[in-house]
């Protein structure tokens, strides 16, 4: 068996996951992981499944596209090559970076550029920009894995400097504080 990764993007409506999973089931695929989210009424889902060796990604993509065309979804299917996790991140420190401040273009770009420069990996990003100067309407929350071999002091200093330039309030905290306070 091999693995395939299916990406589905389009306007959200009832039946998208039901259609994708039925077609995968009909083609003897077995779902391993699914993640989906909805942003401003747009659905986005990623499905990872094991599939028969002789099922080509292209054929599966065509079938899914046919099956989901009434629902107006865009489908992308690829074979998933086996890969090992990067050992640099095996014992990385999970850090939460949160910013609040006036909306302007390029906020995500300028913050992530620094994160990337220090070799840290964004594992989750939630960003809401409703516009205007009210900091509570414009929030970015990055969950970042920072390799222990990295330079946290340098990263934090650069992030704080950039936040000041952009007039953002920034908090940089180890993930454990949020888990300790909010989860039993």
């Amino acid at each position: 068996m091999k693995k395939v990764i299916v990406s589905v993007v389009g306007r959200d409506r009832p039946g998208i996951i039901a259609s994708v999973s039925r077609i995968l089931f009909d083609r003897e695929c077995n779902l391993e992981n699914v993640s989906q989210t909805i942003l401003q009424l747009q659905f986005s889902g990623i499905f990872i499944a094991t599939a028969p060796e002789d099922l080509s990604a292209r054929l599966l993509e065509e079938e899914l596209a046919r099956g989901l065309s009434p629902l107006g979804q865009h489908i992308f299917v690829n074979d998933l090559e086996p890969a090992e996790p990067d050992p640099v991140f095996s014992d990385a420190e999970p850090v939460i970076i949160t910013t609040r401040g006036p909306d302007r273009k390029g906020l995500v770009s300028r913050i992530t550029e620094i994160i990337a420069r220090y070799g840290a990996n964004v594992t989750n990003l939630q960003a809401v920009f409703k516009g205007g100067d009210d900091p509570n309407r414009n929030i970015m929350i990055y969950e970042v894995d920072l390799p222990r071999s990295g330079d946290p002091a340098g990263l934090y200093a650069d992030l704080r400097k950039k936040a000041e330039e952009l007039d953002l309030e920034i908090s940089i905290q180890h993930r454990h504080i949020f888990e300790a306070m909010n989860r039993i």
């Binding site: 939460i96 949160t98 989750n124 929030i139 929350i141 908090s171 454990h176 300790a180 306070m181 989860r183």
Partner: protein, 457 residues
């Protein structure tokens, strides 16, 4: 993956509700420093504190930064000095206090507590020397805190010690008259003193404690107040049972912060983690006040009728939520009502809503006692002792800790203001009845017997 709500509510507590770890206190057993030679004892104390506490402050700051939680105070609590310095005179005890002060400054901690004696059943030679040294020791040092346990539920109240402490508090105030008697702000008289308090001025390390231990004092009155405000805004008909649930949940979160920070500090210092003290400790800042919680609960001010019931609810809910959040809870674990350290409480005293008698009453359901209460300087030692005796009786009978940290402000009378500065704050001087009246009861001395431990009515 954390939810946006989990992250933002935590950050809100830190940025706008004054959530912090109020103190990480390193308990150090100094019994192995003993010597009949004073200079040898002092050298041993310096060496031990330097060796074990030199990393405390930078480490607390580092861990505070890591989690984005300020560790406001770093402190040391030591074995009772009256025991490890028992052979010495009062004058020599003052030298010991100065050594402790120097050692505290050398490792950059805010306070060092444990200039203490336990005299609930009798006063030994070292105890008397230490008590007599207190006025000079409090005047000559900045960071040393003293505590004297004069009563317990098992021993009763040592009335000789109570009267003695009335006199000592007067002398301590006189020695620091230039600063409104601030020496008394570093001096607590206790009933049932716990062995693991991280908060000052009562912190000391009991004889049953490990050689070195980290105890943590959490805070969070602002967080509790905001949680109540938010809940009542969403549902103005919320009843007290439901408000109690909200306080419990909030206390859980606050306590988890203390537990996380304390355990990491202990692990990094390779010493034991002791307890989290679940106390709501205010500061003289708006939004970081225990007094404001009473107003959120619908009272005009702390001190008006209903205060005792509200405090009973608050204290119990804090303990229930906190006990679930921590594997080891100890210390004082009660809402503090330090008059000068809480802007709202000192305002309630100034406006006449809060009196000493009401303060005393509320200590029967919680809180630690008459804490940071400024009273007229002319209050006699006998009246001071009588106030202490009343407070000790509440602790003794109710099997709880009570304490007195009262400041007879030299040269000032009721209605004037006393200024202590910093976290110690400022307060109106509260009126005391029978300021200088004769009090034969106090002079009778002896020991009020321990209470019967059944027939609990």
């Amino acid at each position: 993956m954390l939810s946006e709500r989990e992250i933002l509510s935590t950050i809100e507590m830190l940025r706008n509700e004054h959530l912090d770890v109020r103190t990480v206190t390193l308990g150090l057993n100094l019994f192995d420093c003993v010597s009949h030679d004073l200079s040898r004892l002092q050298e041993n104390i310096r060496s031990k504190i330097d060796a074990l506490a030199q990393n405390l402050v930078p480490l607390c700051n580092e861990i505070g930064d890591k989690y984005g939680i300020p560790v406001v105070n770093k402190r040391i609590a030591i074995s009772p000095a009256a025991v490890f310095a028992a052979p010495f005179s009062a004058e020599e005890m003052v030298s010991v206090a100065k050594t402790l002060d120097d050692a505290a400054k050398s490792v950059n901690v805010d306070f060092i507590g444990g200039f203490s004696a336990l005299v609930e059943k009798g006063i030994a030679k070292g105890d008397r020397a230490l008590i007599e040294a207190i006025p000079e020791a409090m005047a000559a040092t900045e960071r040393v805190c003293a505590s004297i346990n004069v009563a317990s539920s098992r021993a009763g109240i040592n009335m000789e010690a109570v009267y003695l402490m009335g006199k000592i508090i007067k002398k301590t105030a006189a020695k620091t008259a230039d600063h409104d008697g601030i020496g008394c702000a570093k001096l607590c008289v206790f009933a049932n003193i716990p062995e693991d308090i991280p908060f000052m001025a009562g912190a000391y390390l009991g004889v049953g404690e490990p050689g070195a231990v980290i105890n943590v004092g959490v805070s969070g009155p602002g967080v509790v107040k905001k949680a109540i405000d938010r809940a009542l805004e969403e549902n103005p008909d919320l009843d007290l049972g439901k408000i109690s649930e909200i306080i419990k949940r909030t206390s859980y979160k606050v306590t988890r912060v203390g537990e996380l920070i304390g355990r990491e500090v202990a692990e990094r210092l390779a010493i034991e983690f002791g307890v989290v003290d679940l106390s709501l400790a205010p500061t003289p800042n708006v939004g970081d006040s225990v007094g404001e919680i009473f107003q959120s609960l619908g009272l005009t001010a702390i001190g008006v009728p209903g205060t005792t019931a509200a405090l009973a609810l608050l204290n119990d809910a804090v303990k229930k939520g906190g006990a679930f959040a921590s594997s080891h809870v100890g210390g004082l674990s009660g809402a503090f009502v330090p008059v000068s350290e809480d802007l709202n409480i000192s305002d309630a005293a100034a406006s006449g809503h809060l009196t000493i008698e009401k303060l005393e009453a509320i200590t029967s359901v919680c809180s630690v006692g008459l804490d940071m209460v400024a009273i007229p300087g002319e209050t006699s030692a006998e009246t001071l002792a009588a106030i202490i005796a009343d407070e000790m009786a509440i602790g003794m009978i109710n099997k709880k800790t009570t304490a007195c940290r009262i400041i007879p402000v030299p040269g000032k009378g009721a209605g004037e203001s006393a200024y202590f500065g910093g976290l110690l704050g400022q307060s109106v001087i509260m009126p005391v009845r029978n300021l200088t009246a004769d009090n034969r009861f106090i002079r009778l001395g002896g020991r009020i017997p321990a209470p019967i431990h059944s027939l609990n009515n």
